[in-house]
């Protein structure tokens, strides 16, 4: 009997673990290690953040689902990886520290035959002074919608602002809290959902709502932009975004690196080198991502973290990390199998793998500060990668170490994303976008690096319905309800 450990129970880890268990059956063991007791459909957190959904609508308990699937579930955080075992044993293992199941604080070693690292990101609030609390958590000055609990907190704060706006002017600032953030889409969704709810609440006239982002142009979305179909016209996402912001009276700051947050004020530097301050009564700023801080040790107990992980904490896989200049970037730099080059029984999936470089053009302010979106890895690529990695591991277990590894390069896959701009059965709006390939292939598609036929978006009520349908469909799938394998990632 072989044992597969999946570290992380998010979109990628959950997908990998559930498919692996289905394919391996009871002959082999699948263990999931995740510090969370609940699975969270993160794309709907923005609706929790404006009070249009409750936390219970976007989460469900993992334990019964894993019990049903026959997966050994450990509510714990992974602490370290020991790929060579230890002095008295060659068996590789990980150490974990429980966060629940009545064992909080206890540590344990679990051996493995195969390991999938799908821990997702650490929300690196402390990268910006004042954005975090100094202990890695969200600071006191701003809110976030990155987790369901953060979103609940954001909604409570927002409701207070709406209440104050009944009698006095209030200022809302939404966007990215650092020059190297990703997930502009989540902030984009949140700002327009706030605007939508403010209108419904009758307080829009007393609210100044402003956007701040590290994108070098509106509509970059961390992907270098795309075409949008709007009202029958085909326009660039830049014009689409500028029109949307102007129509809804939302001014913007772009090319911005937020370098300090204080009570009611952010300090920023722009790509042109100028600096400034922006005051706020309510701010939702997305933090940058980093690896979760796993350590790695060799057989002798020496620290080999730098061998397994890139400096940003994400795990090295079969990508080209040689640090080539921008003009030499190729689609083939991106990983295909997500297998660690040094330890062939370790894989990384979803956000946990280290990208070889950015997707958007790298930009640095005249003062030398990097200000550009980092590669977005939305749910769809994360799920696809998780499934491909699970497939590879299952084949390795069943067919031996020469089994063919499954491939899922982000330079050869498309991704779909639906960004809500207001919730409502009849007055909702969302932008549905597809990008192909996720990582530009400048050799295959000279110019933008993407197939323009498959890189486009459309905004309207139907997009909102699609987002709502996806909410229910993916929670249904994640609960492993009948037919779950038929629903694509």
């Amino acid at each position: 009997m072989a044992r597969l450990i999946v570290m992380g129970g998010g979109v990628s880890g959950h997908t990998a673990a559930t498919f692996a268990k289905k394919w391996l059956g009871s002959e082999h063991e699948v263990v999931v290690v995740t510090p969370n007791s609940q699975w969270n459909w993160i794309p709907s957190n923005i609706w929790v953040g404006v009070g249009q959904m409750t936390k219970e609508d976007v989460v469900f308990p993992l334990a019964p689902v894993y019990e049903k699937a026959g997966i050994d579930y450990r509510q714990a955080k992974a602490v370290s990886i020991h790929p060579e075992g230890k002095a008295d044993s060659d068996k590789p293992y990980i150490t974990i520290e429980y966060t629940g199941q009545g064992k909080a604080g206890q540590t344990e070693e679990i051996t493995y035959d195969y390991l999938i690292n799908a821990t997702g990101p650490k929300l690196n609030f402390d990268a910006t002074p004042g954005l975090g609390d100094g202990n890695g958590q969200l600071g006191e000055h701003t809110v976030s919608v990155c987790t369901a609990d953060h979103a609940m907190h954001a909604n409570l704060e927002l409701k207070q602002i709406f209440e104050k706006a009944k009698t006095q002017k209030q200022k809302i600032l939404v966007g990215t809290g650092h020059g190297m953030c990703t997930c502009q889409g989540a902030a984009f969704e949140y700002i327009f959902n706030i605007e939508h709810e403010a209108k419904k609440a009758g307080v829009r006239d007393n609210l100044e709502i402003k956007w701040i982002s590290n994108e070098s142009f509106l509509g970059d979305f961390g992907m270098g932009g795309l075409h949008m179909k709007v009202g029958g016209y085909v326009v660039s996402s830049k014009l689409f975004a500028e029109s949307l912001f102007a129509e809804r009276d939302v001014p913007w700051l772009i090319g911005a690196h937020v370098n300090k947050v204080e009570a009611g004020k952010v300090h920023y530097e722009l790509l042109d080198g100028t600096t400034g301050e922006e005051e706020f009564d309510f701010a939702m700023l997305i933090p940058p991502f980093a690896g979760v801080g796993l350590k790695a040790y060799d057989k002798a107990g020496e620290d080999i973290t730098g061998k397994l992980f890139a400096p940003n904490g994400f795990m090295k896989v079969d990508a080209d990390y040689s640090g080539k200049p921008y003009e030499e970037w190729k689609a083939s730099d991106w990983p295909r199998t997500y297998q660690n080059p040094d330890y062939k029984n370790i894989f990384a999936a979803g956000i946990a793998f280290a990208p070889p470089h950015l997707i958007s053009k790298p930009m640095t302010s005249v003062n030398g500060t990097p200000i550009n979106p980092t590669p977005p890895r939305t749910g769809m690529p994360a799920g696809i990668i998780g499934k491909a990695v699970a497939h590879s591991v299952c084949d390795l277990i069943k067919e031996g170490e020469n089994a063919h590894l499954h491939e899922a390069s982000m330079a050869e896959m498309g991704a779909a994303c639906v960004a809500s701009a207001g919730k409502g059965v009849f007055d909702g709006t969302a932008a549905a976008m597809t990008v192909y390939p996720v990582v530009p292939d400048f050799e295959k598609y000279p110019g933008t690096g993407r197939d323009t036929d498959y890189t486009f978006g459309e905004i309207g009520l139907a997009g909102h319905w699609i987002k709502h349908i996806l909410h229910h469909m993916f929670i249904y799938k994640a609960k492993l309800n009948p037919g779950w394998t038929l629903i694509p990632e």
């Binding site: 070098s216 142009f217 270098g224 932009g225 795309l226 075409h227 179909k229 009202g231 029958g232 016209y233 085909v234 326009v235 660039s236 830049k238 014009l239 700051l253 772009i254 090319g255 722009l270 790509l271 042109d272 080198g273 100028t274 921008y326 003009e327 970037w329 053009k361 930009m363 640095t364 005249v366 549905a432 530009p440 400048f442 000279p446 110019g447 933008t448 690096g449 323009t452 459309e458 905004i459 309207g460 009520l461 139907a462 997009g463 319905w465």
Partner: protein, 272 residues
């Protein structure tokens, strides 16, 4: 080398230009062609996409000096104003659009190093924005409101520069609306039938209405399937057509589909 200028309605200009990555061969070749074409055509500025290169490079001629901007971005903008402009793409037809008179810009120079400049002359700022628009799949027409856009297109056609584009636009009355109209009428009577038991009608009459409902329900569904395929056909036929948007068509179908299912279920329990 002088390159032919793209002219309206050549839609090959409507692509997002990719970033300049190679500042040796690609940059130099496009820059040379841009300058040669500006000279030959007597222009004041040109974007690479206007001569068929889908790369983010533009050149502005100022005091007989050529300024090249690779991968340009407007970081801040202020001083909004109405700018009446013309472009070689639109045969110099004047079109008024909203612009900003003061800009802060970053761009890459010939070495690929990022530079920053500020523009505070309205004319120069407008030229910069117009050329930048081309690099982001945006023409002067895209900056106009729908009715202004239609007027501008008519003005262009009136000068004889344009072929008749009437077939490219949405017809005032679309034949797909027949599908919707018939479906709506069937749904209306399905809705009415739900209230008939309140009027003490005979069993035979109610049975007849129930038969109608059993006929109307699948007919509405078939009509909506027909609507979808015909709407798709029209969407391909008429390029500039807001009502052809697939989202709108799906919305029409879902609304009537839900109504048909609800009324059919109601008829089953009330009349059946």
């Amino acid at each position: 080398m002088v390159q032919p200028l793209k002219r309206y309605p050549d839609e090959s200009i409507n692509v997002n230009a990719g970033p300049i990555r190679d500042f040796h061969e690609t940059y130099q070749q496009i820059l040379t062609d841009l300058i040669d074409t500006i000279e030959a055509e007597g222009l004041e500025a040109l974007s690479a996409i206007q001569i068929g290169y889908a790369y983010q490079l533009m050149v502005i001629k100022e005091n007989n000096t050529y300024h090249a901007y690779a991968n340009p971005r407007i970081i801040t903008q202020s001083d909004p104003f109405d700018s009446t402009e013309s472009s070689s793409y639109f045969f110099d037809q004047p079109i008024t659009v909203k612009r900003y008179g003061k800009l802060s810009i970053v761009y890459d120079d010939a070495e690929g190093k990022m530079q920053t400049i500020k523009i505070d002359e309205r004319d120069k700022a407008a030229t910069f924005q117009r050329k930048l628009d081309y690099l982001f799949n945006t023409t002067l027409l895209d900056r106009l409101l729908p009715h202004q856009r239609e007027q501008a297109i008519k003005a262009l056609a009136g000068k004889g520069h344009m072929p008749d584009l009437s077939d490219a636009f949405c017809p005032t009355e679309s034949k797909k609306e027949y599908f919707v109209s018939v479906a709506d009428k069937l749904l209306f009577f399905m809705f009415i039938s739900l209230f008939l038991p309140l009027f003490n009608l005979s069993k035979e009459t109610l049975s007849g209405w129930y038969t109608y409902d059993k006929f109307a329900f699948p007919t509405v569904i078939i009509l909506m399937i027909g609507f979808f395929f015909y709407a798709q056909y029209e969407a391909k036929k008429y390029k500039q057509c807001s009502s052809c948007q697939i989202g709108n068509n799906i919305g029409v179908i879902i609304k009537r589909g839900i109504a048909a299912i609800a009324f059919a279920a109601g008829a089953y329990f009330i009349l059946g």
